[in-house]
Symmetry: C2
């Protein structure tokens, strides 16, 4: 599976694919495996159905050089790490903030690609009354979970191992079902986790 | 005053300025006039003081070409219009969403650089229980106001003129005071507008 940096638009992906590897990106093996795309399409559905407004923050880009002779064409720039999370918005009057990650690991979710900045951000979100969580896809198991950020923060800061065992997801997480539209019923998981108590 | 597209990092600005026009960007004439920078610094202050978590969405960029031979260097890309607003976050448990605009106009705020997408976004935010507004800087008058989005939405959709008279800001807006740190006391204006009723 080709790894694109976050936030490439669907358009630019398409352009890329047209040239060389369209069969890879749209093969059935790959179907449903692009978590970010699944969330983005689900967000569109939820917005249209008037359920919530949750959007992806664009990938921050450090711009080095812009050519203004050609209508502000960026000619030298680099992807930057998101210092917050990828998604936020509002649902039932509450502030929602989450990060989505895919893992090929079958037994645990490694915390190695979560930054300290993101953990700090999530702690503040919780402190100020927001709802924050992770959407973790275990690709090899074809399972997706919502897990409240407090489990990730706790493990990140005080855990002996830098990963969260699958067991934790089954015990404390909420499974997210796949569908056609929305591709991910993640609002159902939010309801279960935060609104049906 | 040089107009940079939104979201250039402070770093890249500095690099640019070092070469040619440092005296323009840091001149006293320009001081306090960069609304976006003032808000970003204020957000840092509010975050550190544990008052709220409000962040700027990075400028969306449409990437055409990336050179992976040099560690993912973007060599062809263009700025895109934000389809949402520039800022969002959480304060006192509420979802906050706003757009900031500067105008040189002395008598009204022209709606020409607000997009239909942004208006749609703000309507949905309101519908789902978020707080949404505009921060408008009247540069020539050295005045900054918070104005609830409903006034802008109303004028955008049903107004005869495509601008909001200054008078509306004095009547229905909340003035935002300048300071050293935070540069803009905009949380005070939020309190006045939404929490002291």
């Amino acid at each position: 599976m080709i790894k694109y940096p976050n936030g490439l638009t669907y358009n630019s992906k398409e352009k890329k694919n047209k040239k060389s590897n369209i069969e890879i990106s749209f093969s059935s093996a790959n179907r449903g495996m692009n978590l970010e795309e699944d969330i983005n399409f689900s967000n569109e559905y939820y917005k249209e159905k008037d359920i919530c407004v949750i959007t992806k923050r664009p990938t921050p880009i450090n711009i080095v050089k812009v050519d203004y002779s050609k209508g502000a064409k960026i000619i030298d720039a680099y992807f930057e790490k998101q210092s917050t999370t990828d998604y936020n918005g509002v649902y039932k009057g509450k502030y929602i903030d989450f990060e989505a990650k895919n893992t090929k690991n079958k037994t645990s979710f490694p915390l190695s690609n979560i930054t300290k900045h993101q953990i700090e951000h999530l702690k503040l979100v919780n402190k100020h009354g927001g709802i924050s969580f992770f959407i973790i896809q275990f690709e090899s198991l074809d399972k997706i979970f919502l897990l409240d950020s407090k489990f990730v923060i706790e493990q990140y800061e005080h855990g002996e191992r830098k990963s969260i065992p699958l067991d934790t997801f089954f015990k404390f997480g909420f499974e997210i079902k796949r569908g056609f539209n929305p591709r991910l019923y993640y609002i159902d998981a939010i309801d279960e986790a935060y609104f049906e108590q």
